[in-house]
Symmetry: C2
Subunit: 415 residues, 2 copies
């Protein structure tokens, strides 16, 4: 196998990732899932012409030279049925969402009127036919596909699902994910501190990366460098749809992981990608599982998850949006180049005076410096073919978890 | 009260929103929460000088004119303790993360070596002192503040927490949120279809907006237009930290919500904001609760949530990142202006040939058209003071839920 680019490795992974069947879940538990079936409207919405404002339903032809006094013949609230037909010179007080009475062809909002004594109101301006009326079926028409299979369930989608009374929805199943760390040097979260050991952070960082996708993974624990023990762990891990193994995937002689996986029937598709951090990243498949061998270095492990595991899990969940949101940012300083490897630089985002994004390195880019991953807003991509990025040049930044919100509104206005 | 801008209304809301005390949660359940205490390292990390590569630990001075043969005197795996001191002409086979033996001052990766018979290895190039060695304490130093109070718990933060063995963390409490819909016209999700009624979508869309922030709200149901019933519901709702009331907040005569809230001890701070959609949005406070009166129109309700409820909930959760991520996009077409109101246009994002974001309206901007909210990637902000935005001009877009991922990687390279 020759040198493998990040893009080529992603393509290999995605060739082997597919959705996993469907299940029915309650609407209240469907956020973030992906619809596995088209959803159709089962009624016209609104069910009749309704007022878009609190105001008065009237005949627009009555308002030739406003102000015009009209007689209020009825009060119509949302949920009411109008009982009278409007004639010339008449209007009805009407609430937002209430049905427009027969005879009316427009609504005027209450702010453009003035109450008069004796159930009369003065209309202060003229309006066009249809003004502030929402037409029957304007929101959705009975039978219309309102949501296509493959739609990700967002709050807006949940609103539409509630509108068609979908108390349950059919969605793609989530993959079951197992996480295994390997290495004699690792110390478990519940073990006492041994200064000569290294705390097992990878299991938990990977757990959180999986949780952020809406999947609750199973932590298998730590496999020591023992062929028998490792084989037992890996066999268990292969009962899941996806197995993440961190550590033990590099090219050293003490690497049991790859041969043990192969002995368990896993075909390895790659074990190295031209990227930094993250060079020793492996991918294989069994009949029923995807297996990712992630580097033992905490940052490398997280960066490899972002590039390979995340798109696979999103595809398995039925989504078409497989990759992290990217945006363009200006470099606050030049970035160094590592020839022939795609480099992912941990950066913090800020704004310059014109509102453009500025990317600043979090400092040390050592693959052991997990704090810098905790501080980062994104990963700035330096393509393998780049001859360097200078201060002030534009680059692509992948947004990491925690960046859906920002400190400032991003717009400001005073009246 | 004069005309209130979105920014001014946000400022009023945020004046009344504060964090709510702290609680202790398991690390596994902490994603998305906000740290309420500084977190310090309780060890040096790495605990000793370790190898950053699989390769050989050696004395750099031995490599004056490579290739240089060296004697391999020991194999050191991660978790091992070296037993020998290197002398001139000697090296140790070493794994990533394993301790560097006394006498060695550099590591060379295995790819730059060639195995020789009789426990010897040929080193193919020279290296600088310190090459591929991660120094003790380089990741974190014992006692150092590694995470500051106020940090949002992302996967990277969870990795750092696991590194300092924080099996539990102290975080800000989440607000308890209740959601109430009002109106005789509303039909509950579990009720049979009545064509003259309007399905209650707002409770569920708001539920999902709250869930997307990591909070499980309580749905109080639907209050009919009955003063007694409404008072009972609102009284119950005021037992929560935040009460969202949708519908019934406008200026019509059938509006019981505002006087009932005031009778229950709620001070109303505003009840109208110069925005579209969403003009009739109200905010009040009791001694213990924030109350938002959201418009009955589904889109208006969601847009008002985004501008006012979301920043309040995020501040109550202890976050400093209160607002939606924004980015700049080019208008794919001109947008119309509604004078003196900030307009939020539902848009879909795409990319032009140079990779810049393009914003295209989802079509009808009627506040009843919930489907367009389900389709939208963002809300394009047309400031109240704007005199119009032409095709090709730049505008600010607030990213909505579901946009953390995109269809394309955003970068591409081949080797």
């Amino acid at each position: 196998m020759g040198n493998l680019s990040v893009s080529a490795a992603q393509a290999i992974v995605l060739q082997h990732a597919a959705s996993l069947g469907v299940e029915r879940v309650k609407l209240e538990e469907s956020l973030g899932r992906v619809l596995a079936e088209d959803v159709r409207a089962n009624r016209d919405q609104p069910p009749y012409d309704v007022s878009a404002m609190d105001g008065f339903a009237l005949r627009s032809a009555d308002l030739v030279s406003p102000p015009t006094p009209l007689n209020v013949i009825e009060d119509i609230k949302a949920g009411d049925k109008p009982t009278q037909t409007l004639s010339a010179g008449q209007c009805a007080r009407i609430m937002t969402g209430a049905p427009v009475p027969v005879g009316a062809d427009a609504v005027i909002r209450v702010e453009d009127t003035r109450e008069l004594p004796d159930d009369r109101v003065e209309i202060l301006r003229s309006v066009a036919v249809g003004n502030d009326i929402r037409r029957r079926g304007e929101g959705m028409r009975d039978g219309q596909v309102v949501l296509a299979a493959g739609s990700e369930i967002t709050p807006g989608v949940i609103g539409v699902l509630a509108t068609v009374k979908a108390a349950h929805v059919v969605v793609y199943r989530r993959p079951r994910v197992a996480i295994l760390s390997t290495g004699n040097e690792l110390e478990g979260l519940d073990e006492p501190i041994d200064p000569s050991k290294i705390p097992n952070s990878n299991s938990y960082a990977l757990m959180a990366q999986v949780q952020a996708l809406g999947i609750e993974p199973v932590l298998l624990g730590i496999a020591r460098d023992d062929a028998q023990e490792l084989a037992g762990f890996l066999k268990h891990g292969l009962e899941f749809d996806v197995l993440l193994v961190s550590g033990g995937s590099s090219v050293g002689v003490h690497d049991y992981v790859r041969p043990t996986l192969e002995a368990l029937g896993v075909s390895m598709h790659f074990w190295r990608v031209e990227m930094r951090p993250g060079h020793p990243v492996a991918f294989g498949t069994s009949d029923t599982s995807l297996v990712f061998g992630l580097p033992g270095n905490p940052v490398s492990s997280m960066v490899c998850f972002e590039q390979f595991v995340l798109p696979a899990l999103r595809r398995m969940m039925g989504s078409a949006r497989l990759f992290r949101r990217t945006l363009k940012a200006k470099l606050a300083h030049p970035v160094r180049i590592y020839p022939r490897r795609t480099e992912f630089v941990r950066v913090v985002l800020s704004r310059d005076t014109t509102g453009e994004y500025l990317a600043t390195s979090t400092g040390t880019q050592s693959s052991g410096a997990l704090i810098s991953m905790a501080q980062a807003d994104g990963l700035l991509v330096v393509p393998a073919t780049s001859s360097g990025i200078a201060e002030g040049e534009w680059a692509t930044v992948q947004l990491l978890d925690g960046t859906a919100y920002q400190n400032e509104p991003g717009f400001e206005e005073s009246l």
